[in-house]
């Protein structure tokens, strides 16, 4: 065997644990769920499963609760994604300054991510935010009272529950901040100096030089935030259980109820694949749009 062949063999050997895990626990279940989405599979009575063709998908098109849950999820995404992108960038710009003890501040901002996970959806954090939202004694209403604003019902209000959960998602802003920070620290200083020498002020340097140069990081954060937002589950499950009424019935929560409360696993599988298709479509749109606003160093024509 040639050296190249041996190297390839060793590479596959080291890759195989991941590949086997992926096949067994990700790809396999995905294929199975795709098949199940064309059946009326009852998880506790698999023997009675029958093929229903596209019945589950047609049912989804005619399901008003699903349409409502999709609206709730998209509203949440429309609020949470821009908020995370903007706040993460602002924090990264601030924490990119050269000052004594900056590492401590960077750690402090990233620390909540260690508790919440990348998507910001841990049960512990959800319960903590329940206290922050508490109408009479919560931290948020206390802050409002300090500036003379009236208290709000937050997650107890049908109007404010989704914005409140979007606010809660900012607990994980340290993740996007870290990615921006890495991009900012790799900025070529000669380009910024050149812009400064040409008379560009701070805002112009940021808008015309910094932002285009970190656009790949912005793009990466946008894609991740979008996917996380569409998959939001824990916050709604723990904090509101979809309420008040159905005002925070996220897509994933509705999917979960179909699977494990109504035992309608076939329909739930179809919902999972529809969400996958939606996520894919939105991601493709973002990728398509990236051609016009994401700058990759060394790419032809600068883009």
């Amino acid at each position: 065997m040639t050296l190249r062949g041996r190297e390839r063999g060793v590479a596959y050997l080291f890759l195989s644990p991941w590949a086997l895990g992926f096949l067994a626990f990700t790809a396999g279940p995905m294929v199975v769920s795709l098949v199940l989405s064309f059946t009326d599979y009852q998880v506790l009575d698999p023997g009675s499963t029958t093929w229903v063709g596209t019945g589950n998908y047609r049912r989804a098109l005619d399901d008003p609760v699903l349409a409502h849950s999709l609206r709730v999820t998209l509203l949440y995404a429309a609020l949470a994604v821009p908020a995370d992108l903007v706040l993460g960038l602002v924090l990264a710009l601030v924490l990119n300054a050269r000052a004594r003890g900056m590492a401590l501040f960077r750690t402090a901002v990233f620390l909540p991510v260690m508790i919440a996970g990348a998507a910001g959806g841990s049960v512990a954090v959800a319960l903590l935010w329940l206290w922050i939202f508490q109408p009479r004694f919560g931290l948020l209403n206390h802050l409002l009272s300090l500036v003379g604003l009236p208290p709000q019902l937050w997650v107890y209000s049908t109007r404010l529950v989704v914005p409140s959960l979007a606010l809660m998602s900012l607990w994980g802003v340290g993740r996007s901040m870290l990615i921006y920070l890495a991009a900012l620290q790799r900025l070529p200083t000669d380009v910024l100096w050149a812009a400064q020498l040409d008379g560009a002020g701070p805002w112009r340097r940021f808008a015309r030089v910094t932002l285009p140069l970190i656009s790949p990081a912005l793009f990466f954060n946008l894609v991740l935030d979008l996917i996380y937002a569409l998959q939001t589950f824990t916050q709604a499950y723990v904090v509101t259980d979809g309420g008040p009424g159905d005002s925070s019935l996220f897509y994933m929560l509705y999917l979960y109820r179909n699977a494990f409360t109504y035992f309608d696993m076939g329909y739930a599988s179809a919902l999972a694949w529809l969400l996958f298709a939606l996520t894919l479509a939105l991601t493709v749109l973002v990728f398509r749009s990236a051609r016009s606003w994401v700058f990759y160093e060394g790419s032809p024509a600068g883009r």
Partner: protein
């Protein structure tokens, strides 16, 4: 005559050889003996332990020592996992395993998400053998999935009749509407029964000069729209000491509510509300009683201002963990009356409360006096691998008088369902909490019903709709608008169920 000769034979047998409590009870039930007769015979048979009062259990079975295998009991469909409840369960299991060395009993404790756990265990081919204790609501959620084994044939074979249990529990053990009104099937053996009464803060009543509520369940003056509402008004106080209806009453600054932790469904039934009619296969949400009942429940919150709404509960209970806000508010003396399940007497609702509290009857609605009856059963999972062994273990926990009493009262804090143990709850509470009169809960049994938990077609889906609609009504939507919509939506779910399912014969 036949029964008489069997009885004679049995008496001669028990005079010549020892007989276990299990054998005793099974044979007594088979012969249809009354409780006093059975108790007298137990004494006559020389069993020194008075069944149902003292002593260690003797889990002898007809196959004692010959049983082999492993039985897994899933605990999580209700009570049973509190640290104080575990040792009794473990001790009873150990006693059975000592008597039957070939048997291993394992408890699978699932403090939350037990329903999902059961689903995944069954789907994964690792079903538990027994689910215990399981409330009827949890049982009902899984009826459509054919999860439970009908215990009727094995009970009949072994001479175990639901007649051995308190009548309220026996009826409830048959998950109404599914196994048939002729009591043909048994979904589980009762292992604990609870009902609800009203608990009130004695000091707050005295301070307000309000007469205490009656403990007599037949007192007609104690009605939801009458004395109960008047008392609740007098016991609801804002920061300046004013009551609802007083001029200047600050509805946003109430510091003490007349009533809390008071289930809207109880009011719904008290006004004649119903969920489903098995005969016509129709949802019942557009009945006048159904609409008036839930509207009155909402009025207690929004119109009369005597009961806290969701956000007020969250405020009153600030400092408590999620879900325990009302318990916290009651213990803090901010709620004058609460609905108290007998299962809560030995929980922080009832013990170590920093004021004197007493029990009273639930107030009557215009249609009936209603209290919840919560039955816990031990149910066998149909997908389980060893039904016979699981049945023997379940029988030990549910039919052996000593084991049943210890499990029901000492572990679950419940009324033991076996008739022979009917006094264990009263004597136990009097010994453990002398200030509490347990007889109030016992006297409430005739008014208690488990119908809110009884299965009907599309049970989970319709209950979801009911919960959301009731939330809306409590939130301010008029019941006259919301309930017809609920009726339509629920009926659609039920009709859909009948399109793809049939009820068993």
């Amino acid at each position: 005559m036949h029964r008489r000769s069997e009885l004679d034979q049995w008496l001669s047998e028990c005079a010549t050889r020892p007989i276990s409590r299990r054998q005793f009870v099974e044979r007594a039930l088979k012969l249809g003996l009354s409780v006093p007769a059975a108790a007298a015979l137990l004494a006559a048979c020389g069993d020194s332990d008075d069944a149902g009062t003292t002593g260690q259990s003797a889990p002898t079975t007809a196959r004692a020592g010959t049983l082999q295998g492993r039985v897994q009991i899933l605990v999580g469909f209700g009570t049973g996992n509190a640290p104080a409840q575990v040792p009794v369960q473990e001790a009873l299991a150990q006693a059975f395993m000592t008597e039957n060395p070939g048997v291993t009993i394992e408890f699978l404790r699932v403090p939350s998400e037990a329903r999902t756990k059961l689903t995944t265990l069954i789907a994964g081919g690792e079903p538990p053998d027994i689910v215990m204790p399981a409330g009827l609501y949890g049982i009902s959620l899984f009826v459509d999935q054919d999860v439970w084994l009908d215990l009727g044939p094995m009970a009949e074979r072994d001479g175990i009749s639901l007649d051995a249990f308190l009548p309220e529990t026996a009826a409830a053990a048959q998950v109404t509407n599914y196994f048939g009104s002729d009591a043909a099937g048994i979904v589980g053996l009762p292992v604990g029964v609870h009902d609800h009464a009203l608990a009130y803060n004695v000091g707050l009543f005295e301070k307000a000069g309000v007469a205490p509520p009656p403990s007599d369940w037949s007192d007609a003056s104690w009605s939801l729209e009458g004395r109960f509402l008047e008392s609740a008004r007098a016991l609801t106080v804002d920061g300046a000491g004013r009551n609802p209806g007083d001029s200047g009453f600050d509805a946003g600054g109430i510091v003490q509510f007349g009533v809390g932790h008071f289930f809207r469904e109880g009011v719904f039934y008290g006004f004649g509300g119903h969920l489903y009619d098995a005969g016509s296969k129709k949802a019942q949400f557009d009945l006048p009683g159904s609409i008036a009942g839930i509207q009155f429940a909402a009025d207690l919150v929004n119109r009369h201002r005597v009961q806290p709404g969701t956000t007020e509960v969250a405020s009153l209970g600030a400092g408590a963990s999620k879900g325990n806000e009302e318990q916290f508010a009651w213990r803090a003396g901010k709620l004058a009356m609460i609905d108290m399940c007998s299962c809560d007497i030995k929980s922080p609702y009832g013990t170590d409360v920093p004021f004197e509290w007493k029990a009273a009857a639930m107030p009557a609605g215009p249609a009936r006096r209603f209290a919840f009856l919560n039955l816990d059963v031990g149910a066998l999972v149909k997908a389980g691998r060893n039904h016979e062994l699981a049945w023997q273990v379940l029988k030990y926990f549910a039919v052996d008088p000593v084991a049943e009493r210890r499990l029901a009262y000492e572990s679950y804090g419940a009324v033991p369902p076996l008739k022979v143990n009917r006094d264990a709850f009263v004597t136990g509470i009097k010994a453990d909490l002398p200030a509490v009169d347990p007889q109030v809960w016992i006297n409430g049994f005739p008014s208690a019903s488990p119908e809110n938990e009884s299965w009907f077609p599309a049970f989970a889906e319709v209950n979801d709709l009911v919960g959301k609609t009731f939330d809306q009504i409590i939130g301010g939507t008029a019941a006259s608008q919301a309930m017809p919509a609920l009726q339509q939506a629920a009926q659609a779910k039920i009709d859909e169920w009948f399109r793809t399912n049939t009820l068993p014969d």
